[in-house]
Amino acid sequence: MAAPEQDTGFGTGTSGVSRIRGTAFEAVCLAATSFALVTVLVLLLFVAADAFRPLSADPGWHLVYFLTLVVPVLGLAVYYYRLDAPAGEVAYSTTGIPVVGLLVAGGMLVVIVELISVIELFALTLATAVSAGVIVAHGRVRPQAALERLGVIVLAPTVAVFGLPPAEFNTVFNWLTTQLGLGPVLQTRITSLRELVMMVPVLPADWLLLLITLTVPVAGLFGLFMGRRRDSRRDGLALLGGTVVLAAAGFVLGPLVGIGAEAWILATSFTVPPLAFYVEGVVRREEGTAGLVFPVVAVVGVLLGAVLVRQLGFAAPDPWLDVGFLLSPTSRTPADAGIYPALVGSVMMMVVIIVATFPVGVGAAIYLEEYAPSTGLVGKFVTLIEINIGNLAGVPSVVYGLLALALFIRFINMPTGSVIVGALAVGLLILPIVIISAQEAIRAVPDSHRQASYGMGATKWQTTRNVVLPQAMPGILTGTILALGRAIGETAPLLMVGLAASVRLAPNGFFDLGAAMPRQIFSWSTELEPAFRHGVLAAGVVTLLAVLLLMNGTAIVIRNKYQRDS
């Protein structure tokens, strides 16, 4: 026991001095916390100003929109924040859902225009649906035959989508046998359902096919979900029917508005069902209904502003980042330069990255959390894997690029700079991040739930699939989306695998020479012309950051919802 009068080293100064010192220290720490935030915020403002050039507009233009849009929107926001928090959330969601829906629709439109025709999409969807039907039917007819079902799960989609053996396999195999002097050996194969559909000579018009392939399944899924949630089949059917009618109206209305029937159908398919479902829920719960005003006010504000500006003759700003920038390829003249091929390339890369990393990453996380033994030789190996994953997350991205260059391009001869090589390079990079975040999500599922499942005689896989995964899924999705956000901005691996600096045409297939947003931005950064540096480059950066913000926003919404529910 220290004697009370012994000098402890604490509080020996006069209280005045130590208070000043404490306050100063706190202020320094606060300044440090804000330093990076403020710096980056200021830089972002500069970039945004370069991209949008707000000063190029008439002051009257700003005034009009300030009055019609900013004031009402801000007023509502303050009202929600102060007095009606649930309404604020409703406002946020009812505005966000159509925006996300429209973006998904835009993505689909790009896919249809650039990648696969509507007929191919139709054939693919039909084949997938039929194989899913076969699997479900098998489960009904022979519920006990577990191993057999595994075979069906593998075979049915293969036959329906690829044929048996897949055409590509035949080509490669026959090439090999011809090389060996045997001649083409595989002559016959079962033609896939997908190919059969493609051969049908008479098919309905594109917009009708699109209605069947996209609108009906999407609206059907939401209808099914709604029917279950509300316990009323009628509501679900009404949702399905309403959406289909509204989408079909696009045949007439689309061209009238000037966006084409396909674009109209896509837009309605992805915005109407979720929005109707959400709004119906809000009205039914009678909580935060005031928030429904918000999107109406915003839309009316924009329209009113547009009319007024035209009537009064105020000049709008002339931003670098406009529709033309988003929809045209890059160019030597700054005014014509756009980001479209790179945007398409990035979206295609995201598709490959999701397909390549999500199953493997989640599978690895399931093994490490649910299956891995902690003792014995395998246990040692598992510890090694865990340490290794942690370290891989810290390996510089440029090294992954080097790996992809050597492994995919030089070793297995994939085309240099193709979309798939770029995507695989970045996929390898984010794999450890996906695994680690999925592990955390799985670890958060309480053990008691697993024990309850085992207690009812479920096997390990049944427990994992029916108990652990559904609960961990929001967390896994959040982590994956954040990792994809990292992936979309990665540049160094793309440089290493030789992705094209500038592509005039968007890539048509995954083995085509690809472009990507960060790669395009980097090549603009090497231009010396000020119009590129402070114009096109800024517009590209803002586009990239906007996509990123959207992805992270989605992840945060999922996380918040999940945290509140649990």
């Binding site: 604490f10 706190e26 300044a31 577990a146 510089p396 090294v399 896989w461």
Partner: protein
């Protein structure tokens, strides 16, 4: 989804055990893929690096003071010195700022301030590095030039500043975790002896969390060493050794760290066999350095976790 409801889970039909085993193997393969990735990185880098050392002797590589592809000079020292320069300047910014931010978040910030500042700092870590590079080139460099610093268009200072800002969230987040893990009883004991909040923060919390803070330093520096796009965009492509006679001139001029050199070699139109392979030798050097640093950081972090749990 509806099929599960009619599944009779009390009986174990034939084949279920086999199916369980198949799932286990498939999942195990997924997990082992990470080992495969590491092994293939090492093998691939090492194979080409060995080829390279067959053409250029290791002595020349590790002691040469010039890196010029056009003249067949492959000394790695200027590249290493460029990397060290960037890392040191970034550390000067990120380490003190990061730790101070961690102290604020862990000891001073109200629950509300914390819930805003912490995610905001995480957002910074999510900004693509090419964007930081453009910030450095297009906005920071002209700003610093306007302040009167004799900077070249491509220079070390603004790139290093952006690298430093980029790694601040890493230092602050990991250090804050370590500080939050310090048991409250230690703080209470200090308060009980009449310590002020300042004294508790600097005299108790920071020393108790020092291993965690240290591990965050190593991890952040390893990130700075491996950072590619900022230095490629904003630092130019001339490699040079650190000039000790005129230390400040190092900041004003451009430089070429190891990562940037790899990108340049790969992007070069014509490159000799040795030049191409040198990329792998540099990559291997980089991989080994960062891998060891990460390993060390994890070791140190694991130790502090053991102490308090």
């Amino acid at each position: 989804m509806s099929t599960e409801n009619n599944e009779d889970i009390t009986s174990r039909p034939a084949g279920r055990a086999a199916r369980e085993r198949i799932y286990r193997y498939v999942l195990f393969l997924c997990a082992s893929l990470s080992i495969f990735v590491t092994v293939s990185i090492v093998v691939i880098l090492a194979r080409d690096a060995v080829d390279f050392f067959g053409i250029v002797s290791p002595v020349e590589f590790f002691t040469g003071t010039d890196f010029l592809l056009s003249r067949g000079l492959y000394g790695v020292l200027p590249l290493v010195s460029g990397t060290i320069l960037v890392t040191i300047i970034a550390a000067f910014i990120a380490l003190p700022v990061g730790v101070a931010a961690a102290v604020y978040l862990s000891e001073y910030a109200s629950e509300r301030a914390r819930s805003i500042l912490k995610p905001a700092l995480e957002v910074l870590a999510g900004i693509p590095t090419v964007v930081y590079g453009i910030f450095a080139l297009v906005y920071v460099t002209p700003f610093l030039q306007a302040l009167g610093l004799p900077l070249n268009t491509f220079n070390t200072l603004s790139a290093s500043i952006m690298v430093g800002i980029m790694i601040i969230p890493m230092v602050s987040s990991l250090s804050e975790d370590a500080m939050s893990a310090v048991p409250d009883s230690l703080r209470q004991a200090a308060y009980g002896m009449g310590a002020t909040k300042y004294e508790v923060s600097t005299g108790v919390v920071i020393p108790a969390a020092v291993s965690g803070i240290f591990s965050s330093f190593i991890l952040a520096l390893s990130r700075a060493i491996g950072e590619t796009m900022i230095v490629v965009v904003a630092m130019g492509s001339r490699s040079r050794l650190i000039d000790f006679a005129d230390p400040l001139s190092n900041l004003w001029q451009g430089n070429q760290p190891m990562t940037a050199a790899m990108v340049r070699i790969n992007g070069a139109d014509v490159v000799s066999e040795a030049g191409f392979k040198s990329m792998f030798a540099i990559g291997l050097t980089l991989f080994v350095i960062t891998f060891l640093m990460n390993l060390a950081s994890n070791r140190i972090a694991a130790r502090y976790r053991e102490e308090y749990e």
